[in-house]
């Protein structure tokens, strides 16, 4: 008999969210087959069965969170079923998981104390998608009556939405963005940059603009280390390596895979890695380690027609770069001549507690210059082995 426990994907993971079971209770599973999908605050993964046997008991429920190490299922031989049941009842008696975290349903509540509601009240609650547990009963013995539901409806306008349980990823996003919003003092500097040259160069090298930007950015971050740092527990850690977080839009929400040691990579390497990372982010195939330890994050909404936006920090980082749409514009160049140039806005958001406005302006200026005249940097296009 083998207990399947809530796994730990990364250093910081302390609880996991069961997205769905891929096997049913009683099914035979082979070693190496996927058992269930678990998401942590960062990632969702399929859990593989380490042994062959019957899935005797499923204890962990879909949509619920359990602490790392909690038994969520038992695999074994059929004759071990009784023992498995016993184990499960022991797990239940321990009640160690985080029940308070999820939204209780009427059924959960009625397990503790039955909700007394009249048939009419129940019908109305059904029709209006109201949880009876939210309604105060005014009838004899606290029975919820139709009047109670109607008065509840009067005070709570009729729902025209449906309540969706939050995924693990969304919870993480909420947590981190709230943290960023409430702790950092974010300011954004914006400048319009001429991408004509960079575009030309990247095209020559058969890589994307983003690759070009990352290449240029990593070189600058190595020099302006304050922008390549973490601020945590009143400590500022300035890094000697550049790990670029890439904000990737996936159908499960925003993911930020990390391109490690970007400063050591040449254009081609960067190009390959970002394609790999973003495509695996979209297909939910990232490893836990690939989501940690970015030192600076970029987010590009240009391909979706956004020209200008103010990104929010990815804590504990202190700066983030937003890239807008590159678009041809008439520009004044070389002594008052008008020329068509490929222009885009760069927005640098930064934690004003750490970075002064002038520093930010300087950083953005250097970055803009490097993009507008990338040759000196690109000539030295090679990775460090």
């Amino acid at each position: 008999m083998y207990e399947i426990k809530m796994p730990k994907f990364g250093l910081t993971m302390d609880k996991g969210h069961i997205e769905r079971w891929l096997k049913k209770e009683g099914e035979y599973i082979n070693k190496g087959e996927s058992l269930l999908e678990v998401s942590s605050d960062k990632i969702s993964n399929e859990i593989i069965s380490p042994i062959s046997g019957f899935l005797l008991k499923i204890w962990g429920q879909e949509g619920e969170e359990y602490p790392v190490g909690q038994t969520i299922a038992i695999v074994g031989e059929k004759q071990e079923l009784d023992q498995a049941n016993k184990e499960v009842s022991e797990i239940k008696s321990k009640e160690i998981h985080l029940k308070q975290d999820y939204i209780k349903t009427d059924r959960d509540i009625s397990k503790d104390s039955r909700i007394i509601a009249s048939p009419s009240a129940k019908r109305l609650a059904r029709e209006h998608h109201i949880l009876l547990s939210q309604v105060q009963g005014s009838g004899p013995g606290g029975r919820i009556t139709s009047e109670d539901i109607l008065s509840f409806l009067n005070h709570h306008p009729k729902d025209n939405f449906k309540v969706e349980k939050l995924s693990g990823i969304r919870k993480t996003i909420i947590e981190r963005l709230s943290q960023s919003f409430h702790q950092a003092i974010t300011l954004t500097n914006i400048t319009e940059v001429d991408f004509t040259q960079l575009k030309k160069q990247t095209k020559l090298n058969q890589v994307s603009i983003t690759t070009g930007i990352i290449f240029v950015l990593s070189k600058i971050l190595l020099n302006l280390k304050k922008f390549n740092s973490h601020f945590e527990n009143e400590q500022l850690k300035e890094y000697n390596i550049v790990n670029i977080g890439l904000a990737v839009d996936t159908d499960r929400g925003l993911l930020v895979p990390v391109l490690k040691n970007a400063h050591l990579l040449d254009l081609k390497n960067i190009q390959e890695k970002i394609i790999d990372l973003s495509s695996r982010a979209r297909t939910n195939q990232l490893n836990e380690g690939e989501l940690y330890q970015s030192t600076f994050t970029i987010t590009n909404l240009g391909m979706m027609r956004t020209d200008l936006f103010t990104p929010i920090l990815n804590p504990p980082e202190v700066a983030i770069l937003g890239i807008g749409r590159i678009i041809k514009k008439p520009c004044i160049v070389d002594e008052d001549k008008i020329a068509i140039r490929e222009m885009a806005y760069l927005s640098l958001s930064y934690d004003h507690r750490i970075i002064d406005g002038a520093d930010a302006a300087r950083f953005l200026g250097v970055l803009a210059q490097s993009i507008e005249d990338p040759e000196s940097l690109l000539m030295n296009n090679k990775g460090v082995e």
């Binding site: 009249s118 048939p119 009419s120 005014s138 004899p140 013995g141 029975r143 009556t145």
Partner: protein
């Protein structure tokens, strides 16, 4: 509009129909010379001496003869003296009148009316106080009307006298002398059509006969306390107006069924059961049944009043349903 008594309205209905239709005749104990022991036929005294007559105390024949007379084309109206005495001739009703059309594959029209007094009156005791309408609701084959007002008894009796089916009419002893508005012009009240006597929003009270008046009194008192009763008079029990009751319960979400007959297995149980089957999702409270305590009617007035339901029972039950 003129005010006449329940007995007068009943007499008018029979008289008008006798004048129109000479197949109608009426008989029973103490009807012709005395006008009925509770005065039901007072207004018929001296009218149609050949078609209104007194009979021997032979209940099995009195009820059974109504069937025979109907089969040869007449429309007999038979008074049963006291509802209690329906039992002395019960086979003529339950085994003959209620079954013969069905048993013969739909032959014949049993246009006959059995009518008479029922209910509690001053210390009439156990053999003269019964309300036994439920028994006739239970056994298929006869229609039941139970009018509560002069207007209703005239309209319903006139309908009954033109019906081709057997009908039994229960008239509460305490109602004969009550007065009410009855128009001069002819009108009919169909069977199976309840009347909402008073609209309300908190609790529906379904009742008939004397209990309609008790319900209205209870409603009046409860109104002062902010409780609004909707009072429905079914008027006929077979068929009964399910739709009106369901519509009302859909509005009030609470139901009390109040009758004078015994609470245990009284017709209120049938109404309650039907409503929980067909309007379960509209109920905010259990359906309350009000009826007499399950004993024969005692003689002593204190005991009689104790076992007989009245407006107080309705008030108590209404408050209980609302948790007050």
């Amino acid at each position: 509009m003129r005010n006449i008594s329940y007995a007068e309205a009943l007499g008018e209905a029979i008289l008008e129909e006798m004048e129109r239709d000479d197949t109608i005749f009426t008989y029973g104990e103490d009807v012709a010379k005395q006008g009925g022991i509770f005065g039901a036929y007072k207004s018929l005294l001296g009218k149609f001496p050949n078609r209104i007559f007194d009979t021997p105390i032979s209940e099995e024949v009195i009820y059974g003869s109504a069937l025979g007379a109907a089969l040869v084309g007449m429309r007999p109206v038979v008074e049963f003296h006291f509802a209690d005495f329906l039992f002395t001739g019960i086979q003529s009703i339950t085994l003959q009148i209620e079954k013969i059309r069905y048993m013969t594959g739909g032959q014949g029209k049993l246009h006959l009316v059995l009518r008479g007094p029922d209910g509690v009156s001053n210390s009439a005791a156990a053999q003269h106080s019964e309300s036994i309408e439920t028994i006739f609701m239970h056994i298929p084959g006869i229609k039941i009307i139970i009018p509560s007002t002069p207007y209703d008894i005239k309209g319903l009796m006139k309908t009954a006298l033109r019906s081709d089916d057997p009908i039994i009419c229960f008239e509460h002893k305490s109602l004969y002398a009550t007065k009410g508005e009855v128009p001069e012009e002819e009108y009919f009240i169909p069977l199976g059509k309840a009347e909402i006597k008073k609209e309300g929003k908190d609790i529906t009270v379904v009742s008939m006969s004397r209990m309609v008046h008790e319900s209205l009194r209870a409603a009046e008192e409860l109104e002062k306390e902010g409780i609004s009763l909707e009072v429905i008079d079914l008027r006929s029990l077979v068929p009964w107006d399910k739709e009106t009751v369901i519509r009302s319960v859909q509005k009030t979400n609470r139901l009390i069924v109040a009758h004078e007959t015994w609470r245990r297995a009284g017709w209120g149980a049938e109404i309650a059961s039907t409503i929980q089957e067909e309007a379960f999702d509209f109920l905010d409270a259990p359906i309350a049944r009000i009826g007499a305590r399950n004993v024969p009617m005692p003689f002593n007035a204190l005991m009689q009043n104790f076992v007989t339901p009245n407006k107080e029972n309705i008030i108590i039950e209404a408050k209980k349903l609302l948790g007050r």
